[in-house]
């Protein structure tokens, strides 16, 4: 039987929703146990949150001052030690998990399955390659621990609130390196919904034209209660910060409603949105590839259409 260790992602004392998505993927294996591991200097609040996630058997915490920031070099030896006795180690395929999981896999001397989209069996998974232009079925050797990152857009967050999993503090004997140090995190402050988990996302692209013009996107997003994203072209042009980038090399998201405004729809952008429920495209070029994947398309000048949308919304 499988026993799965899920590495919790958290920031600022809160569990990231990606954790519950990774638990969802773990549940698909129908394992004997799913334990969530919280590494932090102060794990209690996040552990309490994780204990409520449906399907979680136990929450394990490792409280060490070195774990105040998620440095892969510091966390990986602790995860690798904890992994003994588990058949699988899962982490979300976010920048946190992508940074950490391969370091754990290498310490365990095993391969990693990146970006799991579906579980076909305890050791068989589907994952995208070539920016999502092909989907491969991968079999991992049952004799080894499976380390995998979970493509969060492919999995719903496991329900929360109905579970009361026990929380156990671990003390792991591992010598931790001091060669890597956290300096700072520059984070845009925003009252808007989180891009990765929002039900609605409004994104702007090159067609928005400038950083100043991007205000029209923010204003419209606020009107409909959406998170704000951007295409790589808009980020490269300096219209908005990197954490807003949606696409293959940015965030891969699956909102119920995705509105692409002034975005032509480069393949790497489409990779980031193809799991969205409904895609709306607004672009002045009727031939733009974004219309090939849009459920609703509207050709025209975004600076004229957005105010009209606001009027129609009332």
């Amino acid at each position: 039987m499988s026993k799965i260790l899920v590495i919790a992602e958290h920031l600022g004392g809160k569990l990231n929703p990606s954790t519950a998505r990774a638990v969802s993927a773990a549940s698909a294996i129908k394992p004997e146990a799913i334990d969530v591991l919280v590494l932090s200097d102060a794990p209690d609040a996040m552990a309490a949150e994780a204990a409520q996630i449906e399907g979680v058997s136990r929450v394990l915490t490792i409280a060490r001052s070195e774990n105040a920031h998620a440095l892969a070099a510091v966390l990986a030896p602790q995860v690798a030690k904890t992994a003994a006795g588990y058949s699988h180690v899962f982490a979300p395929s976010t920048t946190f998990g992508k940074d950490l999981a391969p370091r754990v896999a290498a310490l365990l001397g095993v391969a990693q399955v990146s970006d799991v989209m579906s579980v076909e069996g305890s050791h068989t998974f589907k994952r995208p390659i070539y920016a999502g232009n092909a989907i491969i079925t991968v079999e991992a050797a049952p004799a080894h621990t499976v380390v995998a990152t979970i493509r969060t857009a492919s999995w719903p967050a496991a329900a929360s609130g109905g579970n009361h999993a026990p929380v156990e503090a671990l003390s792991v004997e591992a010598s931790l390196p001091t060669h890597t140090r956290f300096v700072e995190l520059k984070q845009g402050s925003s009252d808007r919904p989180d891009l990765q988990s929002a039900a609605k996302v409004v994104s702007g692209g090159r067609g928005v034209g400038s950083k100043e013009n991007f205000d029209i996107i923010y204003k419209f997003a606020d009107k409909v209660g959406a998170a704000v994203g951007a295409s790589r072209a808009a980020v490269d042009a300096g219209f908005c910060p990197n954490e807003m980038q949606v696409g293959q090399t940015g965030k891969i998201i699956a909102p119920e409603l995705y509105m692409a405004i002034g975005i032509s729809g480069a393949i790497q952008h489409l990779t980031g949105i193809k799991d969205a429920g409904t895609i709306v495209a607004i672009n002045k070029d009727g031939e733009a590839p974004i219309f090939e994947v849009a459920d609703f398309g509207l050709v025209g000048d975004l600076f004229k259409i957005i105010p009209e949308l606001e009027v129609a919304l009332g």
Partner: protein, 248 residues
């Protein structure tokens, strides 16, 4: 200081990938091959560090079949001092690639290893992290800015929450993100000059690396297609349609 740069050859990013009808792979015959874009960024950054006087030698490394030398010549034409070709007819998975790099590190003793954050063929995003673990050295993944001074790298990383800055003592592994730099174009005279630069070929088998390719790919499929939707004529019709679906 020496800098080792991973320089993988992949299907060019402009090629539209086709899955073979029998699900045995993707069509690679006759398609254009190029350097992995993230590796071009890695090489560019190494060259800039050499131009600043931080490094004195830049070595590009490729793992692949005999004809990989033509690809490595491009890295030399871009400005690398020399190339190492680890020769193998088999495709290697990230853990094996990391083990190969570790062997080369033991021999070359670089102060810095720069790799692309991922290759755009298998999109694994693993080799740099695995190498750093095996080498027991720092990793700074998804770099958008690198400063080297006083035996350490100060690296700005593109993370989901924003920009994270970390310090890593050298030697270290850095993996590149898109906005680190814009790679230079190769000029014709540089192609001529590159012909005189050395490429060392090392047989994969001679490295004593355990090929640990645990993952078997059993099937390739095209991605599920989203069907084309409808065009609406104006803002009012769009809002009505979205309201009807309960989305607004």
């Amino acid at each position: 200081m020496k800098i080792l740069v991973g320089y993988k050859r992949v299907v060019d990013y402009n090629v539209r990938i086709q899955v073979k009808p029998d699900g045995s792979g993707v069509v690679t015959d006759g398609v254009k091959l190029s350097a992995n874009p993230f590796d071009d960024i890695a090489l560019e950054e190494a060259l800039r560090l050499r131009e600043k006087g931080v490094a004195d030698e830049v070595i590009v490394v490729g793992i692949g079949p005999a004809d990989l030398t033509a690809h490595l010549r491009n890295g030399l034409a871009m400005g690398a001092n020399r190339a190492i070709h680890v020769s193998t007819a088999e495709a290697v998975q990230p853990l094996t690639a990391a083990r190969v790099f570790l062997k080369l590190i033991e021999k070359e003793q670089p102060g810095l290893v720069i790799l692309g954050k991922q290759a755009i063929d298998d999109d694994a995003n693993q080799t740099g992290q695995m190498l750093a673990a095996l080498w027991d050295r720092p990793q700074a993944t998804f770099a958008s800015k690198i400063d080297i001074a006083d035996g350490k790298a100060t690296v700005t990383r593109e993370v989901d929450a924003g920009l994270e800055v970390i310090e890593a003592e050298l030697p270290a592994v850095i993996t590149t993100d898109l906005r680190l730099n814009e790679p230079r174009f190769i000029k014709l005279p540089d192609i001529m000059k590159a012909k005189a630069k050395p490429i060392d070929t090392i047989e994969f088998a001679s490295l004593g690396v355990e090929a640990h390719d645990h993952l078997k790919t059993t099937h390739f499929a095209p991605p599920p297609k989203r069907s084309k939707g409808v065009m609406v004529k104006d803002a009012a019709e769009l809002v009505a349609a979205l309201k009807q679906k309960g989305l607004l």
